[in-house]
């Protein structure tokens, strides 16, 4: 049978961010694939060494367009542990609230993209409509829909007033209703299942070997979640379950993400109900003592890791970021082998790629 090479990317309707694949086809079946990345490499880690600790918060918020808050927050955690300061309780709750909102926002966005790529525009429109509610809540909280700029070293910048709190709780009720309905539709949609079941398989062993994290790992049966395994306040005070599946295909990832969305809506409510009164931030010194620190948190796509080394000046000597997309990217050639050309779009959408994160 004839061999064809199909280029996907760096510009292709399937990809929302630049990434290049060469797909080797035999008939409609993929025999091999090569990947090229780095189109959105901005040298953020190097730039971090030229800016002060405070300026870096702004910079690192721009690593990712979807999970902007979790990057800035994880960086702040690392710097705070270098400084040896403890964030006030109220600030920790507010940070966690934005984290959970971001997770809902990211998962709904992903659901829409997957549905769009398999020609199910109705679910795409529904998912993105529901996502609007999250963006509105974020705007009420921080003033920004995507970049929140709410983190400062030692706490957070803006507060939630009692009136805002009531309003957000009301919006969360709407969101809960809409998300429940969407999840119900997705879970019972037969044509979605026929396209996603058995596609993009990753075994538990492969997940361990490639260090895959987040919903992709949990869909293959790896029960790992930074919020529960290494809890920071307020997650140690909240109870929530971590959904996992064992099938390891795109359908399992869909289920994991949809169930996580519902868990996150519940968490948002609990956080808002239990949020204690108190100061928003503690004063942090300008100079950071020499030393190194790591911090990890659960971003929507999985564990995000920061390493910060200080040489005692007002700029960090090194900032290293490990984003959850990178290991998922590396598994793609494995996942693509043997699928049909039509399933390439499902496989690529299924892992929820954030190329900007991976390239930095």
């Amino acid at each position: 049978m004839a061999r064809t090479v199909i280029p996907i990317g760096p510009q292709h309707p399937l990809l929302k961010e630049p990434l290049a694949f060469q797909i080797m086809l035999e008939g409609e079946r993929v025999t091999d694939s090569t990947m090229r990345m780095g189109y959105v490499h901005r040298g953020i880690e190097r730039l971090c060494q030229e800016r002060t600790y405070v300026q870096n918060i702004h910079l690192l918020e721009r690593v990712c367009g979807i999970c902007s808050h979790v990057h800035a927050m994880t960086y702040c955690h690392a710097v705070e542990s270098l400084l040896g300061i403890e964030v006030p309780l109220r600030a920790a709750y507010l940070r966690a609230l934005l984290c959970e909102l971001e997770r809902i926002h990211s998962h709904l966005l992903w659901m829409g993209v997957l549905a769009r790529n398999i020609g199910l525009d109705t679910i795409f429109m529904y998912a993105w409509r529901d996502r609007e509610v999250v963006l509105d809540i974020m705007e009420a909280l921080s003033g920004g829909r995507v970049s929140h700029a709410i983190n400062i070293i030692g706490g957070v910048r803006s507060d939630v007033t009692p009136e805002d709190r009531e309003e957000i709780l009301e919006q969360l009720t709407t969101l809960d209703r809409q998300v429940t309905r969407l999840v119900g539709v997705v879970e019972h949609e037969r044509s979605l299942q026929t396209r996603t079941k058995g596609v993009g398989l990753l075994s538990l062993e492969q997940v361990r070997r490639y260090c895959v994290v987040g919903p992709v790992a949990r869909a293959s049966g790896l029960d790992a979640d930074m919020r529960r395994d290494e809890p920071r306040t307020p997650y140690d005070r909240l109870s929530f379950n971590v959904p996992t599946h064992t099938a390891g295909d795109v359908w399992a990832r869909t289920l994991v993400r949809m169930q996580e969305t519902r868990v996150s809506v519940e968490l948002c409510r609990d956080i808002l109900k239990e949020i204690p009164e108190g100061p928003l931030a503690v004063r942090a010194p300008r100079r950071v003592p020499p030393g190194e620190a790591i911090s990890r948190s659960e971003a929507p796509r999985g564990e995000v890791f920061y390493y910060v080394r200080s040489d005692g000046s007002d700029t960090p000597a090194r900032v290293k970021i490990r984003t959850p997309t990178l290991p998922s990217l590396l598994t793609l050639p494995q996942q693509l082998k043997g699928v049909t050309m039509a399933d390439v779009s499902v496989v690529l959408s299924g892992v929820d790629l954030c190329i900007a994160c991976a390239d930095r």
């Binding site: 020609g119 109705t122 044509s191 026929t194 049909t340």
Partner: protein, 307 residues
């Protein structure tokens, strides 16, 4: 003079052009409602058409220029010719015994032109899309042809006018052969390459399929052909399965015909809003393991009743 009006204005080309744009608009509006959107204003299909006509016409290097220009014209010609034999509200441009076969033949020509459009292109997406369109053709066309044969068998004639008349004496074919109607509807979705059977032009897989390298006037003609084919396919189903323009004797013919056509269009819009795209192998399975046997059963049943 009368013949010229029939050819150019009603039910000929002018009417078909307006109907194509109107159906496109209704379809987009309807799908938008399913999505929870507002949808485009009524002049959007016309604006799209005019915009494409005015745009630069690019033929990539390595593509056969003459073939690229001829293919959209050939498929548009085939569709326009087919329109002469399809009655609209009882009015028909031309009619003879056996016109159903000619119409079915003419309506398959765009599928062939579509495949060739991919074949002559140099782009990988076009070639792959062309292959897919041919594979899709083999899966939907057989059940479609078998399904539209059933009303003809029942009427004992290959003339569309005769089939309409015979339904007036008995009942709508859709009531007597519901299975055949559903098969014809699925076949029509495949023929028109609409969601959920838009496999040859699936955006996330092969960009725009065989039409990826077309632009400007040629793309406008392709789109017009597709829209006209939608209209003609729906008109054909109304004539064959819903007794043409007949509802009750008193009700004027044209509004009834229009309403029946729009009802079928709404069924198509609903299908595209509800289902995810199939894979080509899933469509082959569906076509040969499910649709074709069912169509065979329908034909046997029709022969048993009618014969």
């Amino acid at each position: 003079m009368n013949a010229l009006i029939k050819l150019l204005i009603f039910p000929g080309f002018g009417f078909l052009f307006i109907a194509a744009l109107a159906f496109d608009w209704i379809d987009r509006r309807m799908i938008a409602r399913y999505h929870g959107r507002v949808g485009p204003p009524w002049y959007q299909p016309l604006a799209d058409f005019v915009k494409l006509l005015a745009k630069e016409d690019i033929v990539p290097e390595g593509t056969h220029g003459l073939a690229a220009a001829a293919l959209p014209i050939v498929s548009l010609t085939a569709v326009l010719t087919a329109s002469l034999y399809i009655p609209v509200g009882g009015i028909v441009g031309a009619s003879f015994e056996g016109d159903l076969i000619v119409v079915l033949f003419l309506l398959t020509l765009p599928a062939l032109a579509y495949f060739l459009a991919g074949w002559i292109s140099v782009g990988a997406y076009s070639v792959l899309g062309g292959h897919r369109s041919l594979l899709q053709y083999f899966s939907y066309e057989v059940p479609f042809l078998m399904a539209v044969t059933c009303p003809a068998i029942l009427a004992g004639s290959w003339s569309i006018a005769e089939i309409i008349n015979s339904q007036a004496q008995t009942a709508w074919s859709a009531l007597m052969q519901p299975l055949g109607f559903i098969l014809a509807l699925i076949g029509l979705i495949g023929k028109l390459k609409r969601d959920p059977l838009d496999i040859p032009k699936a955006k996330s897989e092969v960009v725009a399929g065989p039409l990826t390298d077309f632009s400007g006037r040629k793309l406008a003609l392709w789109h017009l052909t597709m829209n006209m084919q939608t209209v003609l396919g729906i008109f054909l189903l109304v004539n064959l399965f819903f007794g043409g323009s007949r509802l009750f004797d008193r009700v004027p013919a044209l509004p009834v015909f229009g309403m029946k056509s729009v009802a079928i269009l709404l069924a198509l819009s609903t299908a595209s809003a509800l289902y995810a795209r199939l894979r080509i192998d899933q469509l082959m399975d569906l076509g040969w393991r499910v649709l074709a046997p069912l169509a065979l059963i329908q034909i046997l049943a029709t022969l048993w009743i009618g014969g």
